[in-house]
């Protein structure tokens, strides 16, 4: 009753616990999936943090409290927010840095990858190339609605535009407010099979951009209506809710349609590598053409032959990837040249140059000085340098080098980098002592966060872990050892219990039956007339055999009792047994022990005890001795029992005696023991059994034993002949 009650209480408790866990899980899930989690959101660019943003391409950096992408990469994205945001709007001030691309905002983005349209969501942006405002759906492909902006307020770079993008159910609306007269342009459409939810993002295409005041807030139908109202109030006819009738796919843009007319090609341009041939003594003026590979903290330009450092240039705002023409004074260096007093003209924007993959040793030769390279290394240490730069110390093989990161968005990543990590870095290889301080052969100037990939975390194996592992292994070994002994103890306990049970069983059946049969034989014998001496003899033998068997059974039962099994008890048990047998007689019993007692297995203890009993019984019954000596000797690798008497001795065992000797020999054989009987008439008999023991493992001898084991089991792969390696005599 009590049990049932406690059981049902336990069940109830378990059920409640399960329910609670389920509720907690559901609650957590509901919280995580809540489309309003984290809304409204406002950027903290002004405070210099942007850890929540994740970049896909581009060189995203915080500059003057604004998020800036200096790369002309096509489709560079920076995303944040919850993938479960559903009805919301995002607005920001957007500043275009290029005249051939576009920049804007992404809404309801998911499934992002690096690449032009590698995301699923909606994008709205200003495009300078065809002076239009763009809204479209990206789904690893692109469908757009465009609207040309009137010439009076044409879209130009280097201006702030305020862009607002709203998604409500399946209606997407975008509104841009343009300087100088705050003219508004609206775009919107209904996507019947719309993306339901997603993050927000900043995106630019073939042009850099700057973003600030990013605000995300939940949107309602009313917000949408308001936006529509705004759109209607403007002069231009709004093609609101325009279907995707004029949507078209486009994948290629042609930067040649560049608005800026400063693209002039000079036939006198030189390759950068050829500048190294210029005179050291007298500076010459030269013109080169190349692609901007780094703008801050230093300007580097690279063409197909090499790179060049341009200190303090006269230049417009430059972005990574701009094709430029530079004219200036050439100063050849050891590994690369510099161009002072240079004037930089932007020809057009193009895709940033891919890095050259080299090893650290190759880079340290200086051959790649001032070029954009990719190199691998293991992070050895990190520190903060002057002007808030972040310095990474790296090793690759025997070569060590440094990488310098700009602060800002990098600091979060920097704080997360763990020494020992394997990194892949892209940056400008610089051997200029001004940066290397002659500590390392070269320094890598990273353009942004995205130039650093963690290939693998620090190796798991270090000193602390090794010590921990050793400790754990020791602990486990200890636990294992304890468990092993406990199990062995239980097993022994089980065996002992079983033996006890067996003893009772034998007593109740076997021993009693022998007694009964003995009485029955006696009864038969009593009825047979004296003259049938032949039969009487046989009956007597039968009686004796039964009595012997009875005694044997009784001894078996005695042996099965647990107290006779301890090795130190064998001798005392045998001594007691002998004293019992000779009780009332004039036999002197002497028992001796030799050597240190060692624990022996049950089987061996059994066998020793039984052989001892039998030998004592034989001596007392048949030999008629005056002295009986029991000796138990423990050796390095054997336990030896010796029963010696000074009785009459015998020549050959016959009848019951032979029976007993055969039994003893059989028992000895069962434990691979050596068994000997030496007997001479009127001198005495000596019975000796030597049971091999497993060698004892000690601190000193274990290597020896281990070697012996290996030799026996692995080298001499012959079948073990231990069982019959002892000759039997006697």
């Amino acid at each position: 009753m009590k049990l049932a009650l406690s059981l049902s209480r336990r069940l109830l408790f378990g059920a409640l616990l399960c329910l609670l866990l389920l509720l907690a899980f559901l609650g957590l899930r509901a919280y995580m999936h809540n489309p309003g989690r984290g809304l409204p959101y406002r950027d903290s660019f002004a405070k210099g943090t942007a850890n929540e943003w994740r970049a896909f391409g581009g060189t995203w950096e915080l500059v003057n409290g604004m998020m800036r992408n200096d790369s002309d990469e096509r489709g560079a994205k920076l995303l944040t927010g919850s993938p479960y945001w559903h009805n919301y709007s995002v607005e920001a001030d957007v500043y275009l840095l290029g005249s051939s691309g576009d920049a804007g905002l992404i809404i309801r983005s998911s499934d992002e990858e690096e690449g032009v349209n590698s995301y699923s969501g909606y994008y709205a942006g200003m495009r300078t190339r065809d002076n239009s405002f763009v809204l479209g759906r990206a789904d690893h492909g692109w469908m757009e609605v465009t609207k040309r902006v009137s010439d009076s307020s044409r879209i130009r770079p280097f201006r702030w535009y305020h862009l607002k993008l709203l998604a409500y159910e399946c209606q997407i609306a975008a509104l841009v407010t343009m300087p100088p007269q705050a003219a508004r342009t609206f775009l919107g459409f209904t996507d019947s099979n719309c993306a339901q939810s997603g993050r927000v993002g900043l995106r630019s295409y073939s042009s850099g951009g700057i973003w600030r005041n990013v605000v995300v807030q939940p949107a309602t139908r009313q917000d949408l209506a308001e936006m529509l109202q705004n759109a209607k109030s403007q002069n231009e006819p709004a093609s609101s809710d325009a279907a995707l009738h004029d949507a078209k796919f486009f994948g290629s843009q042609h930067p040649q349609e560049d608005g800026r007319a400063n693209a002039h090609s000079d036939a006198t341009t030189q390759s950068i590598v050829s500048l190294r041939l210029a005179s050291y003594a007298r500076p010459t003026t030269a013109t080169i053409r190349g692609v901007v590979i780094l703008t801050a903290p230093r300007l580097y330009v690279q063409d197909f032959t090499g790179g060049i450092y341009i200190p303090k240039p006269k230049a417009p705002l430059l972005k990574v990837g701009d094709e430029v023409e530079v004219t200036g004074e050439v100063h050849p260096g050891d590994f690369s040249s510099t161009m002072e007093h240079a004037t930089v003209n932007v020809l057009w924007a193009r895709t940033p140059m891919p890095p050259m993959s080299v090893t650290a040793s190759q880079a340290s030769t200086g051959k790649y000085d001032a070029t954009f390279i990719e190199v691998r290394g293991h992070l050895a240490g990190k520190e903060r340098g002057p002007e808030n730069t972040l310095i990474l110390d790296l090793d690759e093989g025997t070569q060590s080098f440094r990488a310098i990161m700009n602060p800002g968005r990098g600091s979060y990543l920097f704080s997360k980098l763990r020494p020992g990590s394997s990194l892949r870095l892209r940056g400008i290889c610089v051997v200029d002592p001004a940066l290397t301080h002659n500590l390392t052969p070269f320094v890598l100037l990273l353009r942004s966060n995205e130039d650093l990939d963690v290939i693998a975390g620090p190796p798991w194996w270090n000193t602390g872990h090794a010590i921990a592992v050793v400790f754990i292994v020791l602990l486990l070994a200890l636990v294992f050892n304890l468990a092993y002994h406990r199990i062995a103890h239980w097993r022994l306990q089980g065996v002992l219990e079983e033996r006890q049970r067996l003893a009772h069983e034998m007593h109740d059946t076997l021993a009693q039956s022998f007694a009964g049969i003995g009485f029955q034989l006696q009864a038969i014998r009593n009825r047979i007339p004296k003259e049938n001496s032949h039969i009487l003899e046989q009956l007597d033998l039968a009686s004796n055999l039964v009595r012997h068997s009875h005694e044997e059974a009784r001894r078996s039962i005695a042996t099965l009792h647990p107290e006779s099994l301890e090795s130190e008890n064998i001798l005392s048990a045998l001594d007691l047994c002998a004293r019992r047998m000779v009780e009332g007689g004039s036999v002197q019993v002497v028992s001796e022990r030799d050597g240190n007692v060692r624990p022996v297995s049950l089987r061996i203890a059994d066998a020793l005890y039984r052989v001892g009993q039998e030998a004592i019984a034989n001596a007392v019954r048949h030999a008629n001795p005056t002295l009986l000596c029991i000796r138990l000797k423990f050796d390095e690798n054997c336990a030896c029992l010796q029963i010696e008497d000074n009785g009459t001795g015998f020549t050959q065992g016959n009848g019951l005696l032979g029976f007993g000797i055969r039994g003893m020999r059989r028992r000895a054989q069962s434990i691979s023991a050596k068994f000997e009987i030496q007997s001479s008439l009127s001198v005495g008999t000596r019975v000796q059994i030597s049971a091999p023991l497993p060698p004892r493992v000690t601190l000193i001898n274990w290597p020896n034993l281990f070697w012996r084991y290996v030799r026996e089991h692995w080298i001499d792969a012959r079948p073990s002949k231990q069982a019959d390696s002892y000759p039997y005599r006697g």
Binding site: Q512, A515, I517, F519, Q520, A523, N526, H550, R580, E583
Partner: protein, 214 residues
């Protein structure tokens, strides 16, 4: 001495094992001057049979399920059935022998004993004497001798047997009267007796202490 010829010894055998019962019955039936009055497979059954039909001698097994041999001996005493009992068992532990003899058994035999011993035992016990084979007797004596009294308790017991009071013993041994009383209590408990007088007589009887001679 009863006349063996005119009146056979009526024997009741109690053993839970049918093979033993059958064997003993057959064997004793062949003996002159003996008659198997019955064979019971448990103590209870034996008591019932004895009440209905008294016998001269009981061959009693010690270990039986339910009522053991010792229990049966006690039950016989309680129901005022006076009968001579021989314990016939396969056990020869000191404690078994001791308890059987304490409970009033006159003989103690092992089941493996030869027929001649058994016949002798039955005749001896029937005639009112004890029959204990010499090794059993030796074991019994050993058990009787064995006490777990400490040396100090033996000293106290020695003086107790001479009739000294606790105070006198304390003075003689230089210990307090209370300590002596503790020793005496412990002796009484160990010898399983009711008072100090009985403790002294039992100790003398068992040979634990020498009989004081004066």
């Amino acid at each position: 001495m009863p006349d063996l010829r005119s009146k056979p010894i009526r024997i009741l055998i109690v053993d839970d094992h049918p093979v033993v019962l059958a064997g003993l019955t057959s064997m004793l039936a062949t003996q002159d001057g003996m008659e198997v009055a019955g064979a019971a497979s448990s103590g209870e059954e034996a008591l019932d049979m004895l009440r209905a039909n008294p016998a001269d001698l009981l061959l009693l097994d010690l270990r039986m399920p339910g009522m053991s041999g010792i229990d049966t001996l006690h039950a016989l005493k309680r129901s005022n059935i006076s009968i001579r009992v021989i314990i016939l068992t396969s056990f020869e532990t000191d404690e078994d022998i001791y308890r059987a003899v304490q409970a009033g058994a006159l003989g103690y035999l092992l089941k493996g004993a030869p027929q001649s011993d058994m016949i002798e035992a039955i005749r001896t016990v029937y005639s009112g004497k004890r029959y204990l084979p010499h090794h059993i007797a030796a074991r019994l004596a050993e058990r009787m001798m064995r006490t777990n009294l400490t040396a100090r308790e033996l000293e106290v017991l020695q003086m107790l047997a001479r009739g000294l009071t606790n105070k006198e013993i304390g003075n003689a041994l230089n210990i307090s009267g209370n300590t002596v009383r503790n020793h005496v209590n412990s002796i009484i408990e160990k010898l399983d007796v009711s008072d100090r007088t009985e403790a002294a007589t039992t100790a003398i009887h068992r040979g634990i202490i020498e009989v004081p001679n004066y």
